[in-house]
Amino acid sequence: MIAALHQAAARHGMAVPLIVGAVLLVLWPTAFSTAYDLRVFTLAGIYALLVIGYQFVFGHAGALALTQGAFFGLGAYVTGILGARYGQGFVVTFPLSIVVPILLAAVVASPVLRLDTHYFALATLGVAQVLLLVALLAEPLTGGANGIPGVPGVELLGTPVPRGLPLAGFVWAWVILGALVARQLLRGLYGTAFHVMRDNPMLAACLGLDTGRLRLAAFLLSAAYAGAAGSLFVHTIRVVSPEALEFHVMVAVLAMAVVGGRTRIAGAILGAFLLVHLPEWFRVFEKSYLIAYGAILLAMIVFAPDGLIGRLERWFPPAPAPLPEPEPLPKRHPIQGEGPLLALQGVVKSFGGVRAVAGVSLVVRRHEILGLIGPNGSGKTTLINLITGLVRVDSGTIRFVGTPINGLRPDAIARRGLARSFQAATLVEGLTALDNVAVARATAEGVGMRRALRASWSDPSLARARRHAMTLLNALGAGDAASCEAGTLPHGVRRRVEIARALALQPALLLLDEPAAGLSETEQADLADRLAAVREAGTTLIVVEHNMPFLARLADRLVCLNEGKVIASGRPEDVRADPKVIEAYLGRAGVSS
């Protein structure tokens, strides 16, 4: 029996516990259906919807927004005011309760979304507090501290939905719908894009992903779900009061998301179900039941910091998916424009008092491999960061096929056809090597909310992106590692996966920051051959490297930087023999000896 269970678990991963959970969730209200229990169960559904929405911004976008309670309260007030004061029914209150929070979210998004971490948290908290105080002050509209009683119940097609099991079923139907929409949005390439963004926003931008837009989408989706939950809440309890806007709603939502799991829909439902019911179960402790609630919350976060679903996933690991068949990438459009591929003119960048790049001018021709050398601190990496837009130039221009690109955001530059690797091979640890590469196809696949919603049972963009990624991994000799999590890969393989990911953007210009660092000599030789093949296929390369033998066999031209200036450029053998270059690397003693 146990062996059979083990086998089933190994084959189906989380399917077994999820099905068991769903069955229990259906049995729960039918088995213990006192009127009060059903009310609590309905409330759990409302919170589940609220938490599923919160996962967009908190889980997937990785931003600690403290507005979810406020959007919930706003939705509640819209329903309360329309229902009790203007006699509107569910068909009017519900959509408007979704629209109004979305509008508020859109208004506050532009100043608030660009803030970082705790500033973002506090700004969103500020918005929430202002809303609460306005509800208290605007008494003629909101009823002040007493709120508005007498909100009608849900009525559909002229028939009221009675309290008890029908209302619980109605609310949970919305939970199921919300869960399906969330799943549809996030299981494909769009969800993977979110994963990369929350793990490393800078990396996401370099892959051409518009992180501002992703964050905005998540924020608006959260507001929409919160508004829906707020409307259902008021139609259930039939009164709206400032309590719906108070901070403890937000705290409860946050706790549910953390306890259940930040990015798993099942986690939202489990967290909401548990935390709504726990105080009820602890009523046996009478006066101290909320103390026990706090203690259990503490215990859960201590013992399952990744959430209960995360804990379950470790017990029921998913069966490894079969690797996709490689499929060649579609032909990319030739780069339009006149002039050299890349031209830098008098580029300057200072950090504080240090001029890291002090007036660099250079030209990169099409289909060449340009080696960029120079001692540590000579400005090589800064130059790459300037070209790819991670750092803004102080003065000077950078032109890509004749058009200035300095001043553009990194994601816009990446979409124009510049891809890069990082000095410290930067992968998203929690994704497989395959998905690390596949996500770079997001722009080419036109990833977005609408496309995600239109996809059928499995996302064809993700499947195609994975097939393309497989081709690239094979081309770089990392195909065997495709299904491994990136965090487990050895250094040499990480480098290849990173380069495969950059190639997935089908760049016209590929900038590699010390690709050979930490590789053995055999690995270096192998990498040099593969990079030569990349150039043969029509990509131009800039390779930053210390390793002269590696560059000498690869580069057509070398440019040597020292103290932020170009001190030599030309054929590799000439640059290597240049006394200024030798001096820069070895100091004066090196020249005289």
Binding site: L64, P111, V112, R114, L115, D116, T117, H118, Y119, L122, A123, L125, G126, V127, Q129, V130, L133, V134, L136, L137, F247, H248, V251, L254, A255, V258, V259, K287, S288, L290, I291, Y293, G294, A295, L297, L298, I301, V302, P305
Partner: protein
């Protein structure tokens, strides 16, 4: 007017103790202690309880409150921080919320939900300072808080303990490599922060009463103070606390000072405590829009 300002400074002094503890824990651990507000409440109720047994001025009870609150801070670190120290900071955020819920409801079970007043620091009454009279309590609050802040400053700037604490705040791993017992330091920081929060509770308990649900209000104030002052800056947090308190106290009393304002239509609505809080948040949002790194800039380096 002067009286109003003295009251504002007194409130600010108490907020400063609260914000100080918040920022010390933040610097030592990188995590937000969300129970800090509930610790203020706990300190307040502790002094209420103690004064029922020994009816003496609160100043006499201060050492007792500091000591007991330090123990509570140790317990907090053991329960909510150490089990999660390798987790992302948001885990500690939640775990301290959980401890806060426990504190609040323990207080509720023991004392009930009604507000309670603590004993005055020395004696109640007014002091004449030249032409104006100010409350003795407000002056005493300022004096005690100033003393505690000076003690903190001396302790941190001029002792080995302080250097160890600052080293830990700057770079925990390096401090550990240098043989500093980082865990002891962090536990000590929690004890210190809790003691100061408790002192704030003691100082506020007479004028503002203590209610078990006070915590969330206080933590929001501390959070704002620390953001206004620059995340991680001790001096900034103290200034931020003062700004908030002055605003809260001075704004609603503007019509008293400038009688012309009182005759404006809707003055009682406009110059209310609620409106003051709304404006406080609006100003805060404006500060964040204009200067996303806080008024005084950011002092802790964020780890990549």
């Amino acid at each position: 007017m002067l009286q109003v300002i003295v009251n504002g400074v007194a409130l600010g002094a108490a907020y400063a103790l609260l914000a100080l503890g918040f920022v010390l824990i933040l610097n030592a651990t990188g995590a937000v202690n969300f129970a800090q507000g509930d610790l203020v409440m706990a300190g307040g109720l502790l002094v209420v309880a103690a004064s029922m047994v020994w009816p003496v001025p609160a100043i006499v009870l201060l050492p007792l409150v500091l000591g007991l609150m330090a123990l509570l801070g140790l317990a907090l670190s053991l329960l909510a921080y150490f089990p999660l120290k390798s987790q992302p900071p948001v885990a500690v955020f939640i775990s301290t919320i959980a401890v806060g819920i426990m504190l609040q409801n323990t207080a509720n079970a023991l004392f009930g939900a009604e507000p309670r007043a603590g004993p005055p620091l020395l004696t109640a009454g007014l002091v004449e300072l030249g032409p104006v009279t100010v409350s003795r309590q407000a002056l005493a609050i300022i004096a005690v808080a100033a003393l505690l802040i000076v003690v903190q400053h001396v302790l941190f700037r001029h002792t080995r303990l302080g250097r160890v604490l600052r080293a830990t705040a700057q770079d925990r791993e390096m401090a550990e490599a240098l043989g500093i017992r980082v865990n002891t330091v962090i536990a000590g920081t929690f004890a210190f922060a809790a003691a100061y929060a408790g002192a704030a509770g003691l100082l506020l308990s007479n004028t503002f009463f203590v209610t078990p649900s006070d915590g969330s209000n206080y933590i929001l104030k501390a959070y704002i103070a620390v953001v206004i002052g620059g995340w991680g800056s001790v001096v900034g947090a103290l200034c931020g606390a003062m700004v908030i308190a002055l605003f809260e106290v001075v704004f609603p009393s503007l019509p008293l000072v400038l009688p012309g304002l009182a005759s404006l239509p809707g003055a009682s609505w406009l110059f209310s405590q609620t409106m003051a809080t709304i404006l406080l948040y609006v100003v805060l949002l404006a500060v964040l829009v204009v200067r996303p790194q806080g008024l005084f800039g950011e002092t802790v380096q964020r780890r990549a």
